[in-house]
Structure formats: structure tokens, C-alpha cells
């Protein structure tokens, strides 16, 4: 078998291994781990795709990623923790992780201001921040005291959207995608296998006061090059072995 055949065999094998899981947590399916109350838990392998379904709970507030009125020059920037939505992401393999967050007019909603039975989405300016690790314990006491928070709450009402979060000591800032003009935003990181935290929100211009906005998040991985090469090599070796 030629090298071309080996690569082909590897590509054929990839779809067969996709096993993304995307779970939503609300009162009916609580995230019992403690710490940050993650709305979403996502598990991906190295070549995978997961999409948030059109659930009624898929919505965020206007300035959930960054609210410029909350800080002044020199202050840490901040978003609203409880109007944003957070995902814990587990990568079972090293991969390029692409996150796409976009307006979604198909989120069911029959309350005031609905658009044909769906959440509005025309005021959504998706932005997000990625951290490594997950935070599922109490707020450190010394930080809680400083914030006037209850350590057992596990989370505070605002978060630093552009760096490490003091009250979530288990998270390390990786990067962000800032957007205040478009209805979708996308970013890709090369990540080792492990756990990650994603804060998803909106960065509406300050003169807009939109209500809660429906969204869709897509998580996709493609193999990290060394992993891909190894996988391909392993696959090729397996083929050759069978031929022998």
C-alpha cells in the first residue's frame, strides 16, 4: 500500500470514532458538581462536532460577555455571570477546537417580546472567553470576603472576561473572541486533551438594550497534527499488517 492509501484509510476511520455529547443543565437536569453552575457539558474527541440543540434555555443577556458600564478605566473588564451561559468542555484528545457562537432565531419562547414564538436574536453580538480547567468548588474564602460573596455559592455575579477570574481559581485564561458588530463569531485553538471552560455571552453595543437572545453554539474538533499523523500511521500499519 502506498502512502496515499494509508492516508485514505485514516480519513475513512475518523467518522466512525465521532462521539460528541452535548448536555444541557437546568432545574430538570442539574449540574450537581458544584462550583460554577455550568449550563452545558460537552465532550469531544479529536475529530468531532457537537451543537447546542434549540432548547428553550439557550439564551443570554445583552451585555453578558462585557458590560462597559460596570467598569471604569483601570478596572478589570467584566461580564454578567448569571446572564451568560457557561460550558464545561472535555477534550479526550488533543485537537484543534473551533467554537462558533451565533444568533439563533429558533429558540422556543412564547413570552413577552417573542418573535413568532421564538426568542429574538437580532440583538445578539456573540463573544466568548475560553479558560483551561473547570471550577467546581467553593469560592476561596479570602476572595469571597473581598467580594462580599458567600463561598458556597461557587460563583460570583460578574467575571473577568479578558483574563483570569479571581473567584474561579481553578481556571486559567486561554483566549477570547470579541465581537460587537456581527451575528456570529468563531475562533479556533489548538488544545491538548483535558477540560476547559467556555463563557458565552453577548457584547451588544452600549446604546442597545435588547432582551434575552437565542443562540446556537457549535463545537468542532479536528485532530491536532501530531495526533493525526500518529493516527494515520497507526491506521496504515494496521492495514499493512492485515495485508500481510
Amino acid at each position: 500500500m502506498t502512502t496515499r492509501h494509508i492516508a485514505f484509510a485514516a480519513l475513512l476511520a475518523a467518522p466512525l470514532t465521532r462521539a460528541a455529547t452535548v448536555n444541557f443543565h437546568d432545574a430538570g437536569n442539574p449540574d450537581a458538581a458544584g462550583g460554577i453552575g455550568y449550563e452545558w457539558s460537552v465532550t469531544l474527541d479529536g475529530d468531532d462536532v457537537g451543537v447546542t440543540p434549540d432548547l428553550a434555555g439557550s439564551h443570554v443577556g445583552a451585555w453578558s460577555w462585557e458590560d462597559q458600564s460596570m467598569f471604569e478605566p483601570g478596572d478589570p473588564t467584566a461580564g454578567w455571570t448569571h446572564t451568560s451561559q457557561w460550558a464545561s468542555i472535555t477534550l479526550t484528545e488533543a485537537a484543534y477546537l473551533t467554537i462558533r457562537l451565533e444568533a439563533n432565531g429558533s429558540i422556543p419562547f412564547t413570552g413577552s417580546g417573542n418573535v413568532g414564538g421564538f426568542r429574538p436574536s437580532d440583538g445578539f453580538f456573540p463573544s466568548f472567553t475560553l479558560f483551561s480547567g473547570v471550577d467546581q468548588d467553593e469560592i476561596p474564602v479570602e476572595i469571597a470576603d473581598l467580594l462580599g460573596a458567600n463561598p458556597a455559592d461557587g460563583e460570583f455575579h460578574t467575571y473577568n472576561n479578558r483574563g483570569n477570574i479571581d473567584w474561579a481559581e481553578d481556571l486559567t485564561f486561554i483566549g477570547l473572541k470579541e465581537n460587537s458588530t456581527e451575528s456570529s463569531a468563531e475562533a479556533t485553538w489548538l488544545l491538548p486533551a483535558g477540560t476547559y471552560t467556555l463563557a458565552m455571552g453577548s457584547n451588544a453595543p452600549s446604546d442597545l438594550n435588547p432582551p434575552r437572545q437565542g443562540f446556537k453554539a457549535t463545537f468542532s474538533t479536528i485532530p491536532e497534527p501530531s495526533s493525526s499523523l500518529l493516527a494515520a500511521l497507526a491506521g496504515g500499519l494496521a492495514v499493512l499488517r492485515r495485508r500481510r
Binding site: 442539574p30 449550563e39 439564551h59 443577556g61 458600564s69 448569571h82 446572564t83 455559592d153 460563583e155 460578574t158
Partner: protein, 866 residues
């Protein structure tokens, strides 16, 4: 994040005091019996009706002969007959039907919120219920309710009947003046500041409702005319004035006259309004044609400040109006000026003025003439002075003051009220005598209008705030521009209870005043006396007195709550109890973060952008949302009763989102309805049981409804109110003791009684009224009337002396026995009659000589008046 539910504790704040005064809005506090022999006076502080004998024209002062307990804050009285009077109780939301002959309560009739006035016509009794904008109608004989008349106007109060009783008229105190608010999104930018300050914030603009940019209509309903047979509203009358305080039908022409004030809030900026923002008028409504306005201060030059000649004659806030028999003269009570005025009705000119502040003195000596009635064939004018709680008797021919006597035998008005109230009301503190704080803060409350008191030449103010909505405790400077734009007049009631629901950071949540929190204390409003009223600032001690007074006034209870203070589960399509949970769940609604209980404010100046603001604003309390809702609707083509809505600038009308807020997730119709229900049921700091009452007699004492009402009051006693029993039978008064579940009598030698034992005391012709009173008031109102620690029935009986003189008898009694009235009878079985001669004073005694009777005998006694 996932929602985590927790609830802020609702703090119930009670401020016990010996006497809570709610600044009763008296409307017609005086009345005569049809035979003209009795003057009836609503004694608001004491919650009683004082009955005076005025049958002896040689006596300069009325003679107090009875004091009959009423509900709380009686504000109007009318005599149905010589033997029966109906009293309107503003706080108790009730009518006390009183027997003047038996000196007791015959019945207590419940009516909707804040009843104000009552008039008899066509065999019916019509009661104006101000807060609910309706008239409740009773059969005057049977006292059965016969109907309700919804009214299309704001705050109906004063009533008058036509001579034949076929029509009645009701005046809307907060009728407005045809002004409304142009939202800031439509209004032009403010002019540039005069002194180089940064550009002014974008604000709304007060405009006439006829402005082409206004898409809704604002009704101009000052007075409603009602057919007393059909109970239909036959017409609304407009164009008569902003605040119609009183009205009367001319005895000859049948025309309606209205004593009112007109607010000039279309004038922009405080310097332009200085000393010149209100007119006081008499408006005549012809049978045909447009209303005719008579200015009560036509000679005042408003451009001249200070204007001492004007101060000497000005007439401010005409709250009482009465015609003489032929209608040639009208008498006016100028409440804020301490003056009476005699008006020539032919041309509306003021013929004479009478200064009631005899002996001089400053605001603390204010009388506050509020209501008046002509007696003794029109030869005397009887005037109730609200602030001094006194009655002035005037000779109408000479205009001489014949006497001034207390309106009752005991006045529980707290010293702080007496000392500080005048500074709010006294128009003599203004530059020209025409205005006071109370020109807009009517009875320490609102006027339903917005005013633009910005100052283009003013200074920036910096106040500390914090981003508490974002749970950030860091103190930040909030800079406030002097050109603040229109602001709705705020109530001055309930301020002491507007405590912050949070404590940190202290500098941000310290109480502060005005919509923007730009005043750190009540004392810091001193500049208003000069900058707005055109007078001079007053001494610091006087401002302290004013502040102390204002902190005494509680809110009325919210009538939308259940009688036990709990929240209704069904209210206007919502569940207020569920709404409270939504309100308190800050991860769902976020309401409670800025509007923490108990008052709905943290006193902080928070993030203006979060509420779509263009300038910094204090988080306002929510206690009176129920009073201001549903009056304003700016939707194109909609009809508004008021030109101004819920927000600080008068915009905002849709509950529960009177301001934009994007942080909440309450957006289902059901949840919004629940939250609206809660806001409309917001606790005012005063429990619904306060003022609630039921009258029990021999016939109804076993009634399940009556017993249930008593049980309710007993359950509320000690936590939400005190419970007292007033009336006639056995001991006069009782106070319920929650610990023992017994009623303590007003005589120390009498044992405490169970409820059944109290009711067993009732015999024919007796009645008891069980009434909830403010916490702390129970001991005084339930057995120690003067609060001296001696139970009422243990008080010493005054000394009397009876001597024989050649002409007859000489009866003397202690002059200080103000709550005892002298009486005589021919025999002990006979009817006792008031000794209404004019007594002379001999040392500590009052002395009356009586001529020898035909059979040579006469009995004398002193009888307690209450």
C-alpha cells in the same frame, strides 16, 4: 449560569410611637346640624368627632359638649339630621355613623381606599374614595350600599350638592393642568449651560398635551357632575384649575365655584420659576359658557422679590369655600397663608382679609385654616385650623375674631409635628407670600406633576455611589449635572422608613434625597426657600425642626394587600406571592439587588445604563407604585388621566418594567403579571390592620362576620397593630393584650376581660368599636387618653361648687377640666342640657349664674365629653 435561588429576607419595619400622625387631608372637617345648634368638628389627631353647642349667640366661643370616637384620621363630617352625623375616616377607609343624641357609634361602613368627603343628596350618601377614583353610594337611611360610580379622573375628593339634591359635584385634586411629558428620545437637546459646564444630559421636556409631538390625549377632568337619581356621570368639567381643593354651589345662581390653585410647570428652569410658579384662584363655572377665573392675588408683582407688601396680603392654597345666604359673599380659607378672605362674588375681588395668626409668631405658630362654615344665621364664621387643631370663631360683620378654642379636649399631636410642620406649609416664608413647599407637596404628598427645576447656571454635584447591581462594592463618584430636566414631584411621606435594605458600602447606601440623590439630607433643601420660593434660607434649627416633622409621617397601608398583610394570590391576573419570589430571586429578576426590601431602595446611585438612563439616578423606593400606576399611557391614540407616569421624568408606564432592564429572565406573561401584582401590593411600612375597625352592638355581636373581623384584629395585634376598643358600655375603653389574649380595661381596679366578656357588656343602646391602631398607640387610645400613665377611669374627677345667690344658683367648676362639660336639668329624670352660657372666671374656676327656675329647683353636673 444555572440559576441559584435565594431569597432576601423581607424586613418588616415598624416604628412604634405614642401617636402616629398621617397628615390627614381634611376636606370638609366642619359641619352644622340642620337646626344650626351644633357645630360638628372632625378632630383628626384624636380620631374623634367634637360636638359643640353654638345655640347661644351671646357666647363668643362654641361649647364642647361631646367627643365621639371615630375611625383613624377623620377628614370630613356631614350631618344627616340633628341627631346623626357621618364622619369620613381617611386612614380607616370607613364611615363612622354617629348618634349625636346617644353619643356613640351606630355603625362603621367600610369603603374603598382613602375616602375623602361625603355629601347627602336625593336620599343617598355619596362618598368620594380618592385612591380608587370612585364614589361609593349608600342609602342614607338604611345605610345599605346602593352603588359605585367609577370616575374618570385622578384623586376625587371634595363634594358638593346642588340645592335641590338632583346633582352632586366631585373635584379631582390631582386633575393636572394639561401638561404632559415629551420623552427624551423625542425632545430636543437642552440648551447649553450658561457657565461653561459640560453639555446637559438628554432629558425629557414638559409640554402642553396639545403639542403636536404628543400622540396621546390627556383628559382635562377637574370636576365630575353626577345625577343623583341615575348615578350616572352627566359631564366632566375642565379648564378650572390644577388642584381644586373645595367647591360649593352658589345659593342663588346654582353655579359651581371652585377654590383651586394653578401650577405653572410649563415654565422651565428654577431661576425662571423663582417665587412665581403657582396661582391661587376662585373659578366660577357658569351654567352656560366657559369657566371664569378670579385670581386671589391680582395685585402681586411676581417679578419683584422680596415683596413684603405682597406677603402681607397674599392668599395661598384656598382649601375652604363657603357662601353667605344670598351668595353675595364667599369666604375663603387660605390654608398656607393663615388668612381668611371675604370675596365679592359679583366680581371676584377680595374685600377683606383676616389674619388668623394672632399674636404673631413664625411658622410654628401657624393655624392652617382648612375648613369653614357659616353659622348663627351667617353672623359667624367657624373655622377649623388644622395645624393648631383649633376653632376660630369670626364675627362676619366686623370680621373680628371672637374666640379661638381647641378642637377637642386633648390633642395628641407630637411636639415634633407642632414645631416643624409650619416650615413646610407657611407661604409667608416665600418671597411674596404666594408659595410654600406645600404648593407642590400637597399635604406633604405629591401634586401629580413634573417640574423642570434645572439650573443652567448651577454647579455640578458629586455623590458617592457603587455598582451594587453588579455586586461591586467599590465607591465611585457619580457626577450630577445641574440641568436635570423634568422630575416628578415626590411624596414627603414615609421618608423615615425608606431605609436601605443593604448596609455596604455605607457611603453609597446612606439615605439621600431627590430622584438623583443629590441632596444628602432634608436639611440640605434649605436653598429651596431662596432659589425656588424667592424667600430667604431659614435657620439651621428650623430646618432640623422641619426634618424632624417630615420623619413623623408614615404612609397609608397598601389596600391591595390582604388584611393580615400577606400578599394576595390573585390580583389583577397575577399572583403577588409568586411575584414576590420572582422579585427576590435576584438571579431571575435582579429587581431586589437595587430595590431591596423593605422599602424597595438601597439609596444607592447605581449604574445608569442598566436602567437606560442618561444621568445618574438613585434607586427609588417602591412603596407607592400602587398610587401612581395606570394613570398615564403615551401610546398613540390612548387616553391618559394624568400627563405623567411612573418614572423619574414622568415617562414610564408599563408595569412591571417601568424602566428598561435587560438583566432579568422574567418574560413570560404569567411571570410578568405576577411581578406586577407584587409591585402593586408593595408594603408601605404600615399594615392594613391599622385603622381597620368594626362596630359591634347588641344585635350583631354574634354575627360570624363581626367575630371574624375581631379575630383578625386580635391576630394582628402586637405585630402589625395595636387593638383598642372604644365605645359605650361598662368600661369606656379597652386595649387587647396579645400575651394574655384578654382586654385590659381603662380602670385599674377592673379585671382584664375575655372577648366574650367584653361583648357581654353590650346592652341596648350600647356599641363598641374594635379598631387596629398604629403600634405603640394602643395604650393611649385604649385606656390612657392623655398618655399620663393614669388609666382614664382612674383620672380625678374635677371639683364643682354650687351656691345659692339671690337671683338663683351659682355653679362653679375647675377651669382646667377641659374634657368635662357643664349640664343642668330640672329633675334627675329629665334630659340634661348643656349649660351654654358664657362663664366668668374666678380664680381656677369657671362660674355660671343661673336664674331661679319656675319650680325653684335645678340640678347641675359635669359630664365627661368622651
Amino acid at each position: 449560569m444555572l440559576f441559584r435561588f435565594f431569597t432576601y429576607l423581607a424586613l418588616v419595619v415598624a416604628s412604634p410611637s405614642l401617636h402616629a400622625q398621617f397628615e390627614a387631608r381634611q376636606v370638609h372637617p366642619l359641619a352644622l346640624t340642620p337646626d344650626g345648634t351644633r357645630l360638628l368638628v372632625a378632630n383628626s389627631p384624636e380620631s374623634s368627632l367634637s360636638v359643640f353647642d353654638i345655640s347661644n349667640p351671646s357666647r363668643p366661643a362654641p361649647l364642647l359638649i361631646d367627643e365621639i370616637g371615630t375611625g383613624l384620621e377623620p377628614v370630613s363630617v356631614r350631618a344627616r339630621s340633628n341627631g346623626e352625623a357621618w364622619v369620613v375616616n381617611e386612614l380607616s377607609d370607613s364611615i363612622s355613623v354617629l348618634s349625636l343624641t346617644e353619643r356613640r357609634v351606630l355603625a362603621t361602613l367600610s369603603v374603598p381606599d382613602e375616602p375623602a368627603d361625603l355629601v347627602f343628596a336625593g336620599g343617598k350618601a355619596f362618598v368620594s374614595c380618592a385612591r380608587n377614583s370612585l364614589l361609593r353610594v349608600f342609602d342614607a337611611i338604611t345605610r345599605e350600599p346602593v352603588g359605585t360610580i367609577p370616575l374618570n379622573g385622578v384623586y376625587p375628593r371634595a363634594l358638593a350638592a346642588s340645592a335641590d339634591g338632583s346633582k352632586i359635584y366631585v373635584a379631582f385634586l390631582l386633575s393636572g393642568n394639561g401638561s404632559t411629558i415629551l420623552p427624551r428620545t423625542v425632545a430636543p437637546a437642552q440648551p447649553a449651560p450658561a457657565n461653561g459646564l459640560p453639555a446637559a444630559p438628554r432629558t425629557a421636556l414638559i409640554v402642553p398635551a396639545s403639542d403636536p409631538r404628543i400622540q396621546h390625549t390627556v383628559v382635562d377632568h377637574d370636576v365630575a357632575e353626577i345625577d343623583t337619581t341615575t348615578l350616572a356621570v352627566t359631564r366632566y368639567i375642565g379648564g378650572t384649575g390644577t388642584h381644586p381643593f373645595d367647591l360649593a354651589v352658589h345659593p342663588q345662581s346654582g353655579e359651581l365655584w371652585i377654590a383651586n390653585s394653578e401650577s405653572l410647570n410649563l415654565v422651565r428652569f428654577e431661576p425662571q420659576l423663582r417665587g412665581n410658579f403657582v396661582r391661587h384662584r376662585l373659578t366660577r363655572v357658569p351654567l352656560v359658557g366657559a369657566p371664569v377665573v378670579h385670581d386671589l392675588n391680582p395685585s402681586v408683582n411676581y417679578s419683584l422679590l422680596p415683596n413684603e407688601p405682597a406677603k402681607a396680603i397674599a392668599l395661598a392654597q384656598p382649601t375652604g369655600l363657603a357662601f353667605n345666604a344670598d351668595g353675595s359673599r364667599a369666604w375663603i380659607a387660605a390654608f398656607n397663608s393663615d388668612r381668611l378672605a371675604e370675596v365679592n362674588t359679583a366680581d371676584g375681588s377680595v374685600l377683606n382679609r383676616v389674619d388668623l395668626r394672632t399674636g404673631g409668631g413664625g411658622p410654628a405658630a401657624m393655624r392652617g385654616p382648612r375648613g369653614l362654615v357659616l353659622s348663627n344665621g351667617g353672623t359667624r364664621l367657624q373655622v377649623l385650623n388644622k395645624f393648631s387643631n383649633s376653632i376660630t370663631t369670626l364675627d362676619t360683620a366686623s370680621r373680628a375674631i371672637l374666640s379661638e378654642i381647641p378642637a377637642g379636649s386633648y390633642d395628641p399631636t407630637p411636639a415634633a409635628v407642632r414645631a416643624g410642620r409650619g416650615f413646610l406649609f407657611d407661604a409667608r416664608l416665600s418671597g411674596n407670600g404666594t408659595n410654600s413647599c406645600a404648593s407642590c407637596h400637597l399635604d406633604a404628598d405629591r401634586d401629580g406633576l413634573a417640574w423642570d427645576l434645572g439650573d443652567p447656571g448651577g454647579s455640578m454635584v458629586t455623590v458617592k455611589g457603587a455598582n451594587l447591581s453588579a455586586h461591586n462594592l467599590m465607591l465611585r463618584d457619580r457626577t450630577l449635572h445641574p440641568m436635570k430636566g423634568p422630575m416628578i414631584t415626590q411624596t414627603l411621606r414615609g421618608m423615615a422608613a425608606n431605609i436601605s435594605g443593604v448596609t455596604q458600602p455605607a457611603a453609597a447606601v446612606t439615605p439621600k434625597f431627590h430622584w438623583r440623590g443629590d441632596k444628602p439630607s432634608i436639611q440640605s433643601f434649605n436653598s429651596t426657600f431662596s432659589n425656588l420660593m424667592g424667600g430667604s434660607q431659614i435657620p439651621a434649627a428650623d430646618m432640623n425642626a422641619l426634618a424632624a416633622y417630615l420623619n413623623t409621617i408614615p404612609h397609608h397601608p397598601n389596600p391591595n394587600r390582604n388584611p393580615d398583610r400577606s400578599l394576595p394570590t390573585s390580583f389583577r391576573g397575577g399572583n403577588a406571592s409568586f411575584g414576590r419570589d420572582l422579585f427576590n430571586n435576584h438571579l431571575v429578576s435582579h429587581c431586589v439587588v437595587c430595590h431591596p426590601l423593605p422599602a424597595g431602595t438601597d439609596n444607592n446611585i447605581d449604574l445608569s445604563r442598566e436602567v437606560d438612563g442618561t444621568q445618574n439616578m438613585k434607586n427609588p423606593p417602591l412603596r407607592t407604585v400602587y398610587q401612581r400606576a395606570d394613570l398615564y399611557n403615551p401610546a398613540p391614540g390612548a387616553q391618559s388621566l394624568s400627563g405623567f407616569g411612573l418614572g423619574s421624568d414622568g415617562t414610564g408606564h408599563e408595569l412591571p418594567r417601568s424602566h428598561f432592564y435587560q438583566l432579568d429572565t422574567i418574560d413570560s406573561e404569567a411571570e410578568l403579571a405576577n411581578l406586577t401584582a407584587f409591585l402593586l401590593c408593595f408594603d408601605t411600612g404600615t399594615a392594613p390592620a391599622v385603622g381597620r375597625s368594626v362596630t359591634v352592638d347588641l344585635l350583631n355581636r354574634s354575627s360570624a362576620a363581626v367575630l371574624a373581623e375581631i379575630a383578625l384584629l386580635e391576630s394582628q395585634s402586637g405585630t402589625n397593630c395595636d387593638l383598642v376598643v372604644q365605645g359605650r358600655a361598662g368600661g369606656r375603653r379597652f386595649r387587647f393584650a396579645p400575651a394574655s389574649l384578654k382586654y385590659d380595661a381603662d380602670r385599674s381596679s377592673r379585671p382584664s376581660l375575655t372577648r366574650s366578656q367584653v361583648l357581654d357588656l353590650l346592652g341596648g343602646g350600647d356599641s363598641f368599636t374594635f379598631m387596629g391602631v398604629p403600634l405603640g398607640a394602643g395604650p393611649r387610645m385604649g385606656g390612657d387618653r392623655d398618655g399620663d400613665g393614669i388609666p382614664d377611669a382612674d383620672e380625678a374627677i374635677p371639683a364643682t361648687e354650687l351656691g345659692l345667690i339671690p337671683a338663683g344658683a351659682d355653679f362653679s367648676w375647675a377651669a382646667g377640666a377641659g374634657d368635662w362639660t357643664p349640664e343642668s336639668a330640672i329633675s334627675l329624670e329629665d334630659v340634661w342640657s348643656p349649660l351654654n352660657g358664657a362663664p366668668s372666671t374666678t380664680g381656677p374656676f369657671l362660674r355660671l349664674e343661673r336664674p331661679r327656675t319656675a319650680d325653684g329647683r335645678e340640678f347641675f353636673r359635669l359630664r365627661r365629653t368622651w
